[in-house]
Structure formats: structure tokens, C-alpha cells
Amino acid sequence: MLFNSLTFVVFFVVVVTAYWSIRSWNARKNLLVGASYIFYGAWNPPFAALLFSTTAMDFWLGRQIAKAEGRHSRRVWLVGSVCMNLSMLGFFKYGNFLLQNFQWLLARIGIIYQPPHLDILLPVGISFYTFHSLSYTLDIYRGVLKPTKSLRDFILAVSFFPQLVAGPIVRAGDFLPQLVRPSSLRAGQFLWGLLLMTLGLFEKIVLADTMLSGSADRIFSYAGPLVALDSWLGVMAFAGQIFFDFAGYSTCAIGAALCLGFHLKDNFRFPYAAIGFSDFWRRWHISLSTFLRDYLYIPLGGNQVRPVRAATNLVIVMFLGGLWHGAAWTFVVWGLLHGSYLVVERVVRALFENKDWANNLATGLFAGFATYAAVCIAWVFFRASDFTVAARMLHGMFGGHAHGDAIVTTREMLQIVLVTAGMILVHWTLRDSNIETAVMRLPRWIVTTAWALMACAIILTQGSSNAFIYFQF
């Protein structure tokens, strides 16, 4: 079920009330397991069985890794877990994509092959819960986590409903310790959780869906040539939309978890105030970038190898990061673009980091602006349905359609510009801080008014919004 639905409102009220009414810690955890499976099954009940089987397999494999003696046998069990998780992801998410590409390759060498059409329904959130579960066996293998004795606790760690379908990717090692001791109900924590949920829904329903998504959709789906202004407005609208959509979900998840006494890490830290691409990835989808760094980039050698090898590793990691987002070559290009950005940044840093001018305010501002612009260019491939659309958009952005169409209305322009300017201002203001600090420092009446306005705006939109973008991943 969606956070922005009446079903979730009723579900959440019932779960929270029951949760804090129960005294027994075990009963509370059982309740959360049941609630999480209802939450997941409310999309497609049979897929709850798939979620359970993955979880149970990883629980068992985790124990085998811990019990195994010798590096070789530990590795065999780990490979088993990785293969099981990735093959499931591969089948459901990449099955048709692989078949289509195989067919295309055969056609290039003159073999006509018509693959069977696999009518595969993608289980919602499979990319997220696969990583939740995989982090458990990986951390046991790395020796940073001991296997839990309780299957129920592990099931809850993987399926905890606030983060189950669209992240953040909460590692078992971060969640399982929170299941040891019962948390107590604290008014401040609970109400702060509610405020975060309001903020998350406001970001999603009002800013992403109401203010930006319509313009982004219209511009990206326009089949004609667009002038540079309209093309850039479309990309800026999407840049804002995807941030508010995904950060909104993460904020809701963090808030809902807090209401239940659990603490999830930040998934976004004001990414559009990033100076450079490594900074951007420390701020954007942090749970994925740290996952890829710890379980892929560092095992590949990280920074401890020769620069060319390190650069290759970066590109490999970002290639896979792109593919994780979706089974399409446009996502791969998006990942590769970010990989190449990171490599270029390393070179630039190596050449100029020690120069005086590299550390002054003007350079910082220019670098921040350049980072935002480059990230926007990469978003074109993320949003475009195919390369024709991406090429048309890029052509327009760089002035290739001087006599193209100007379709964006003044209202849409104002919405895009005002929301984007506000977003960037907030990101730069808070880039070295956090929202908790901001709330502490703001006068009480501003916090109260802002919370009330966000709640009123959510009611005014009547929940008539779309599913979260990251659900499809």
C-alpha cells in the first residue's frame, strides 16, 4: 500500500495503536511482522511468499556462513546467497531485458530468434528487499555481524514495512541490534516522527506530484522539437520531482519508523548542494551508494589500487548502480555518465586541489552549479523512455532547436523555477547541518505554521497523486 493512501492511514493508526498497547516485546515484534506482510501483500499477496522464501533462505545461509570453517567453505555459502538473491532479481527484473538483448545480438549475426514472451510481473520493491536481505549474509561473511538466532527478528529486519518497498536500504546489521531491547514510547520522538511523515508526504504529494510532475511529463512526452528554455525547464522539473518523490518516501519511512521506536539512517542529505560528484553521492540515496561502496567498490580494490584500475572500478560500480535502477540501456547510460563524472572529478581534484583559487567561495559556487547542471544532464537519460527522447531533449537543451516549440505555460514556469530555487536555497543553507538542527533553531511559531501548512496542503491535494517513482525499481 502507498503511504499516500487512505488504506495506509487506517493501517498505520491501527498498527501504532496496537503496537504501543502491547507490553510484551516479543508480541510487538510479532505484530510488526504480521503488519509488514499485510503491508506488502496488499499489493499482490502471492509475492509475500516470495519475500518470505528469500528471507528464510538468507537466514539459513547466514548461519551456514558463520558455522563454516575455512575461507573456502564460507565463500561457497556466500556465493550461494549472492546467486540466490541476484538470480531472483535477474529473473523478475531483467528476464525480458536479457532476452530482448540476446535476440538483438543474434539478429546482428544473422540468426533470427523469436524468444518466448515472459509475462513477468515485477514484485514491488524487489530491488530493495533483496539488498536488505543480502546485506545480512555479506556482513556475516565479512565478520562484522553475528547471525541472529531468531528467524522472526530477521524476517522483521528484512520486511519492516516503513522501509520495505522503496528504501532506505537498511542493512540487517543496522536494524537487528534495535530488536534486542524494547523501545519505550516517548512523546517527542513519536510527534517528531509524525512531523517527518507530514514533511515526506508534502514533498511527495505537493512538491513532486502537484508542482513538478505534470510539467516534466508533458515536456518529456512532447514529440516535437523544444526550445532550450523549455527543455531545461523539463529537466529541472524532473530533477526536483525525483528528489522530492524519493526523499519524500525516505522521510516518511524514517518518520513512520520513529513512531514505532526505530531509528533509520538518513538517505538524503541535501544533494543539490553537492560540490562535485563524490559529494553528490554522499548525499543522494546514501543507503545505495554506501551499499555499493562497501560490498562492491571496496572488494574490487577501492582506492588501494592504481588510479586507472580505481577509475575502472568506479565506472563498473556506477554501471551496475544504473542497471539496479531499471532494466533499460537508458539507466545504464545514466550510471555510466555518473561513473565518468566521478573519474573526471578525481583527475580535476588531483590537478587543482592544492591551488588557492580552488578553495575560494566563487570556485565553490561554480563547482556547485556545474555539479547540478551535470546531474540534470544525466537525469535526461534516467527519465527518457528511450534514446530518441533523450537525444531530442539534449539537442533542445544545447540550443539545437532554436526555432522549436515553446509549450510551457507561465504558471508551469513559475512553479518549476520557484520550487527549484527554494529547493536549492534550502539545500545550500542546510548542506552542513540537518533538519533536526534547523527545527531546533527556528522560532516555534514557524515550526507550527510550517507543519500546519504542509498538512493543509496535503489535504487540499486530496491524495490524488501517483505511485512513488522508486517503487518500479
Partner: protein, 386 residues
């Protein structure tokens, strides 16, 4: 491990705008907190929450009163979940109404039930093309009932990718993919929509209010067409009824809606990026394909013993002149009847059906819809050989 208090104090540093290097902890772990405890701002939460709740309740009540004061009343939203609810009610031998808003407003289910001995299922949708629903019913192997299909030519042949097609396709898709959560949300939403006037998904949302701002545009900006304001109510069976204010002769609402229909029913200019001739050919091919698809769907339905009758509902005033000019009877209507071989009832052919006046030029008033349905029944029975 540092205590949560000291950790919190550490995090409450002055925000600095530029060039703070990430700490070692942030570099390693992607950000605080490490000890699984988020900082909670120390503010008087209870007091703030009480004030927020009071403000939200007051603002919501004020908005509700305002909406009622300018003529809005509670009614269900016609969304794909409500449609799916009705679609689920289709039984193998049901009488099903499909098509556009004229079939929606002009047919009274009670009268049809009396005349046809079965309570029809209302699947018509405002501003929509009937074809996706017709195809869906034709492909439903269990269905061998009767279809009453309204034809508004421009909507009936709307090509793929246009709003009339997308609206219906979305509803049909939802009926096949509706999740339990969406179903529950619909059941929860209905009692609210039946009592709260401002819950109008296509009119009183923030997005719609923003769209109404009178801001001048660039000359070629692509402005979405204006849709008519609230002028009907809908019940759980999806029976639509025109509100009295709209039916009242000479009312302001009536005039406003009349002036909205005219641009809505006027064919839009071809896009600038396609040569006019190519666009014309493309549209022509799409319409031909639609005739072929409709004939195939009707054939499939009849092969299972199903029946269908096409109906052209009353419309009047300047809108009738526009429709007669742009989509004359000898064009789309005659062609559909010929291609499908199905019976058709064109209201103008029968004096007892053609004497009705549509207050806003496109639909009958709630009272007239009852009388019209009563008079239509014998024609339906004859056409369907009942």
C-alpha cells in the same frame, strides 16, 4: 559509545555553507547517526501538535464551508477504482452501458430495469472513448450479455494516446490489476466523498486551483483545455444526475458550461512538428483502424450470443450545430452501423426522443433523463429483439 545527549549536541553545530570537509564518520558510513539513535529536536512537541491540529481542523472546516457556499455538494469522484467496482458487478448476462457522459447522465437505471427486466451496470465514463471497454467485454469469455453503447463521434474515434482513450484504458487496466490496497482505499474513500463537498479530484485539488490562476501565457504555450466545473452528482452505481443549478434555465453555471463545450468539441490544430497532410493521413488511418477494431469486437461478442445496440443521445444548441458540422451523421455514425451490422438508435429519428432540451447543450437534466429512459426502452427492446 557517546551518549545520545552528547551526540545530539555534537550535531547541533552552526550550519556552514561551504567547504566543510565530511568527517571521517561521514566518509565511512554515509552520515550520522552511527549508534542507531536519531536526534530528536527538543521543542515543546505536545503544545505544537495541539496548535497544528486545531489549525488544520479549522482550515479544513473553513474550506468545506466555502466550497458549499459557492455551490459544491458532496458526491463520489468518478475514478478508476469506482469504475472497477462497477465492472466487477458485470455478470455473464448483464446489461452494460458503455460510452461517454451522455450515456451516464441520460440513462436512468431504475427505468431501464423496469423496461429490460435487468438492472444495468453503468460503465460509461465522462469524456471517454467506448472502444477499450467494448474490447474488454468482447474479450471476456464469460460475458454474453447486452451492451448499450453511446456514440459521440469525436470521442468514439479518438486515437490512441489521446485523453478520451487514456481515460478508459486506465480504468480497464485498473480493473485487471487493482490491488487489495486500492480496493480498500476506494471503500474508505466513498463515505468521505459522500459527506465532504471539497473532495473533488478533478476540480478542487491544489493542482486544479493553480491551473485556474489568471496568468497570461506565451503565444504558443500548450494550455490544457478547460473542463466543465461541477454540475452533476454520482452515486455508488455510477448513476450521474445533473444538479438543479445547472438545469435551471438561464443559470450562470449553465452558460459557463455551454461556453466550455464549444472549444472542447472543436478539433485542435495539428501539431506544428508534423506536416498537415501527414497528420491528416495519420488520423484517417487511425479512424479506419478503429472501425475495423470495433467491427471485430462486435463480431466476437455476437459469436458468444452477446448483443449490442449503439445509441446517439440528445444534444442541443450551438453544440449540436458544431457536432453536426464537424462529425455529421453520414460520417462516423453511419459507418459504425454499417461496419458492425449492429442496430442503432439515433434520437433524431424518433419524435418521442428528439423533443428534449439539454440545459447545458450536452446532457439531459435529472428529471428529463428519467422520462427519456422510459421512452427509450421500447426502442431498445425492439433493437435487441427482447
Amino acid at each position: 559509545m557517546p551518549s545520545s545527549t552528547s551526540n545530539f549536541k555534537r550535531k547541533l553545530q552552526l550550519p556552514r555553507l561551504f567547504f566543510r570537509k565530511p568527517s571521517q564518520l561521514e566518509r565511512v558510513h554515509g552520515g550520522p547517526p552511527l549508534e542507531y539513535e536519531r536526534p530528536i529536536p527538543e521543542v515543546p512537541w505536545r503544545g505544537i501538535t495541539v496548535v497544528v491540529v486545531l489549525i488544520v481542523i479549522a482550515a479544513t472546516c473553513a474550506w468545506e464551508f466555502y466550497c458549499r457556499s459557492i455551490g459544491y455538494g458532496p458526491t463520489l469522484n468518478d475514478n478508476e477504482d469506482l469504475w472497477t467496482m462497477a465492472r466487477r458487478g458485470v455478470k455473464p448476462e448483464s446489461v452494460v452501458i458503455i460510452g461517454d457522459s451522455r450515456a451516464w447522465f441520460d440513462l436512468d437505471l431504475d427505468e431501464l430495469q423496469k423496461g429490460l427486466s435487468k438492472r444495468p451496470v453503468q460503465l460509461a465514463m465522462g469524456g471517454s472513448c467506448a472502444y477499450p471497454v467494448l474490447a474488454d467485454l468482447a474479450n471476456d469469455e464469460n460475458f454474453h450479455g447486452t451492451i448499450i453503447c453511446s456514440i459521440v463521434p469525436r470521442l468514439f474515434v479518438a486515437p490512441p494516446g489521446t485523453p478520451p482513450m487514456e481515460r478508459t484504458e486506465k480504468a480497464v487496466r485498473r480493473s485487471h490489476t487493482q490491488t487489495p490496497a486500492q480496493r480498500v482505499s476506494q471503500y474508505l474513500a466513498m463515505p468521505l466523498e459522500e459527506h465532504v463537498a471539497f473532495l473533488k479530484q478533478e476540480e478542487l485539488t491544489l493542482d486544479d486551483l493553480l491551473k485556474r490562476l489568471p496568468i497570461p501565457n506565451r503565444p504558443y504555450a500548450l494550455v490544457s483545455p478547460r473542463l466543465p466545473p461541477y454540475f452533476g452528482t454520482l452515486d455508488r452505481e455510477r448513476r450521474a444526475r445533473m444538479i438543479e443549478e445547472c438545469a435551471r434555465p438561464g443559470s450562470e453555471l449553465q452558460r459557463r458550461i455551454q461556453q466550455i463545450w464549444l472549444p472542447l468539441f472543436t478539433p485542435p490544430p495539428p501539431p506544428t512538428y508534423i506536416p498537415k497532410e501527414d497528420f491528416g493521413n495519420k488520423m484517417g488511418a487511425a479512424i479506419e483502424a478503429r472501425f475495423h477494431d470495433i467491427a471485430a469486437a462486435v463480431k466476437k461478442l455476437r459469436a458468444r450470443g452477446g448483443k449490442i445496440v449503439f445509441v446517439r443521445f440528445p444534444h442541443s444548441g450551438e453544440l449540436k450545430k458544431l457536432e453536426d458540422r464537424e462529425t455529421p451523421r453520414r460520417g462516423i455514425w453511419d459507418r459504425v452501423i454499417k461496419e458492425t451490422g449492429a442496430p442503432g438508435i439515433y434520437y433524431e429519428d424518433y419524435p418521442e426522443l428528439s423533443g428534449f432540451n439539454c440545459p447545458e447543450w450536452s446532457h439531459l437534466s435529472a428529471g428529463d433523463s428519467v422520462e427519456f429512459s422510459k421512452r427509450l426502452v421500447p426502442h431498445l427492446r425492439k433493437a435487441l429483439q427482447m
